[in-house]
């Protein structure tokens, strides 16, 4: 299996005035296509930073990241936005949806950015919303959905573009345990059925229990990387 995400010596130093905060201190990481991996570690260990670098939301101060074999550190902003649009789906802890759009419109929005013909958008958006179990709630705005339902819409939106990778940053942090279980089961199922690669930053042991690969970070470094389960052939 090929590496869909490849990090080589990735460093990130934040500058706050004169103070330098090293958030990542040399990350070497390979994530294979179809992987379902979690990333955990103490607060401040650099999980969010790593995800945002992989997603091209920010640039590393050192090292190189390649997505699908393509180095991204030199890409202009607009190319990065395009890369995210086509290859990467994001699910965040909060603030994931456009508040003035309904669930359906939030999903359709991505399809419009992708220039999917209008006639296809509606059916395709309804289909992914059905996949995440939100049939009947398509016309509600985020403020009228529960936290779990909002996260499902976010997952549906991430899936709508048929991305290669979904990056999720603490997606269950604001959910009660039943909703968290359901969300994680949903992501595992999508990973199994459509082969989308998932990289999930989380503290949640229920989430970690689901995954085939578990990466631990401490203080900007990877301190453990364990693979489990039957299909760790690669």
């Amino acid at each position: 299996m090929s590496s869909i995400i490849q990090c080589r010596g990735v460093e990130k130093i934040y500058r706050q005035g004169d103070v330098e905060v090293p958030a990542l201190r040399g990350i070497d990481l390979d994530i294979q296509a179809g992987d379902f991996a979690t990333l955990s570690g103490p607060s401040g260990s650099g999980k969010t930073t790593l995800l945002s670098l992989i997603g091209g939301l920010d640039r590393p101060t050192g090292g190189e990241i390649s997505i699908d074999g393509e180095p991204i550190s030199g890409m202009p902003k607009a190319r990065l936005a395009d890369l995210r649009l086509h290859k990467i789906g994001f699910v965040f802890q909060t603030y994931s949806l456009i508040p003035v759009l309904s669930a359906l419109e939030n999903v359709e929005f991505i399809l419009r950015l992708l220039k999917v013909p209008p006639a296809e958008r509606g059916p395709r958006a309804r289909e992914v919303l059905r996949q995440v179990g939100l049939e009947g709630l398509e016309d509600r705005r985020p403020s009228r959905l529960s936290g779990g339902q909002q996260q499902r819409v976010a997952v549906a939106r991430a899936l709508a573009s048929r991305p290669a990778i979904v990056l999720a940053d603490e997606p269950t942090a604001n959910l009660d345990s039943q909703n968290a279980e359901e969300l994680i089961a949903l992501m595992a199922e999508l990973n199994a059925t459509s082969g989308i690669t998932f990289l999930i930053a989380t503290h949640d042991s229920r989430v970690i229990a689901h995954t085939r690969r578990h990466i631990e970070m401490t203080d900007g470094r990877i301190t453990a990387d364990e693979r489990r389960g039957a299909d760790i052939a690669a």
Binding site: S52, L57, I110, R112
Partner: protein, 406 residues
């Protein structure tokens, strides 16, 4: 897509949007009303002042402007006058002889301009005929009749029926003398006129001043000053062919022209300040709403929206706000102005002053495309230009920073 999104974003905080709209609409309304009123008042002021004596334009001999003298003449003035009135916008043309003489009544004598006029055509151009306090205006067929301003009459001690001796020099330098009978005394409210002008029949003046077949100037009139101004190119063409020149109102009344220009400039400064203040309020509000949405924009960037598209969305919000606000202001201000145009505006305390100029106590604003659009248009443009600030702010966002709400 962006339009719909921008529109919904505007209504996320209805009070704020309504307040913004109100401030744009209010100032637009104000500007439409005030500008329409002002241009109308200046227009009426100009027309009324020019109509007293000067006329909306004049045909004059070459060099007359710098050195008016009897010897500078227009030959066959009736023909030129007739040709001038055939030009669109020019409805009246009155040849004049402009002599200077000592007027005497017994012991008293005063220098004054003695203007020979054709009563019929003069009445279409000059409103002196309607400002007669005593007696009557000159009439066709009058021969030794004269009218004069009330101050001049008082100075000379003449009343209607008195005789006035006119003593001056003619075109050829000969002595001109005549005795006229006062048939009317006018009061224009403009001391320079009331103190210094005597009018007498044109034919008699031509005889007295050795001007037979000649005039010094031809005053022009029209239904509106604008009509005459628009006829300027045609008048210039006519003047060029006849070897005379045409002077517009501004060149004949430079003090009034400069005064009005200055007033317009000062009020423009004031309007400009208003426009800038409104634009700042709106931009400040929008910038605030942009900052509030930093995380949301970060999310949009994260899902793959291009930075410039987000910038454009914010821009559209601004355009929408400005368009609706200015549109409302245009409609309300236009409505009010049209209503006032119908009703007239009474300015307390102005009635006396206005009536002196032969003006009615009510003034009527005039809504024109220019007076209606200039204010709202300026606000719209100012907001659009200022909109570059939030646009740049948004286009510069880094998605990771935006996600953390920085």
């Amino acid at each position: 897509m962006l339009v719909a999104l921008a529109w919904r974003n505007l209504w996320r905080r209805p009070q704020r949007t309504i307040l913004s709209l109100l401030s744009i609409a209010l100032v637009s309304t104000l500007l439409v009303c005030v500008v329409s009123f002002q241009t109308a008042v200046y227009g009426v002021m100009k027309e009324t002042t020019l109509r007293i004596f000067t006329g909306y334009a004049q045909l004059q001999p070459l060099g007359y402007a710098d050195d008016p003298g009897l010897e500078r003449t227009i030959a066959r003035p009736e023909d030129l006058a007739r040709e001038a009135t055939m030009i669109d916008g020019v409805t009246a043309a009155a040849p004049r002889v402009n002599g200077f003489a000592i007027l005497a009544n017994g012991e008293r004598s005063y220098g004054a301009a003695v203007v020979g006029v054709d009563p019929a055509s003069e009445a279409q151009i000059s409103s002196i005929g309607s400002m007669i306090r005593e007696g009557r205006y000159l009439a066709p067929g009058d021969s030794d009749a004269a009218i004069l301003g009330d101050i001049l009459a008082r100075n000379l001690g003449v009343t209607v029926g008195s005789k006035v001796t006119v003593l001056g020099s003619g075109r050829d330098g000969s002595v001109s003398a005549d005795v006229l009978r006062v048939v009317g005394i006018y009061h224009s409210g403009i001391p320079e006129l009331d103190r210094s002008i005597l009018e007498m029949p044109l034919a008699r003046a031509q005889e007295t001043f050795a001007m037979s077949g000649f005039a010094n100037t031809i005053a022009l009139g029209g239904a509106t000053l604008e009509g005459v101004n628009n006829a300027m190119p045609a008048l210039q063409e006519l003047a060029r062919k006849q070897g005379v020149i045409v002077r517009d109102w501004g060149s004949m009344e430079p003090a009034m022209r400069d005064g009005i220009t200055l007033k317009i400039a000062t009020s423009m400064m004031f309007f400009l300040t208003l426009v800038v203040v409104v634009a700042f309020i709106i931009l400040n509000t929008l910038l605030m709403s942009v900052l509030e949405r930093t995380r949301e924009f970060g999310m949009l960037l994260a899902v793959g929206m291009q930075p410039h598209m987000i910038g454009r969305m914010v821009w559209i919000e601004l355009v929408g706000l400005a368009l609706v606000g200015c549109g409302a202001g245009l409609a309300i201000g236009g409505g009010i102005t049209l209503w006032l145009q119908h009703q007239g505006v009474l300015i307390p305390g102005m009635a006396d002053l206005l009536s002196q100029f032969g003006l009615p106590p009510r003034l009527y604003p005039a809504l024109s495309p220019l007076s209606a659009l200039i204010g709202p248009g300026a606000i719209f443009v100012a907001i659009l230009i200022g909109g570059i600030v939030p646009y740049l702010r948004v286009a510069r966002l880094t998605p990771a920073l935006a996600m953390r709400g920085a």
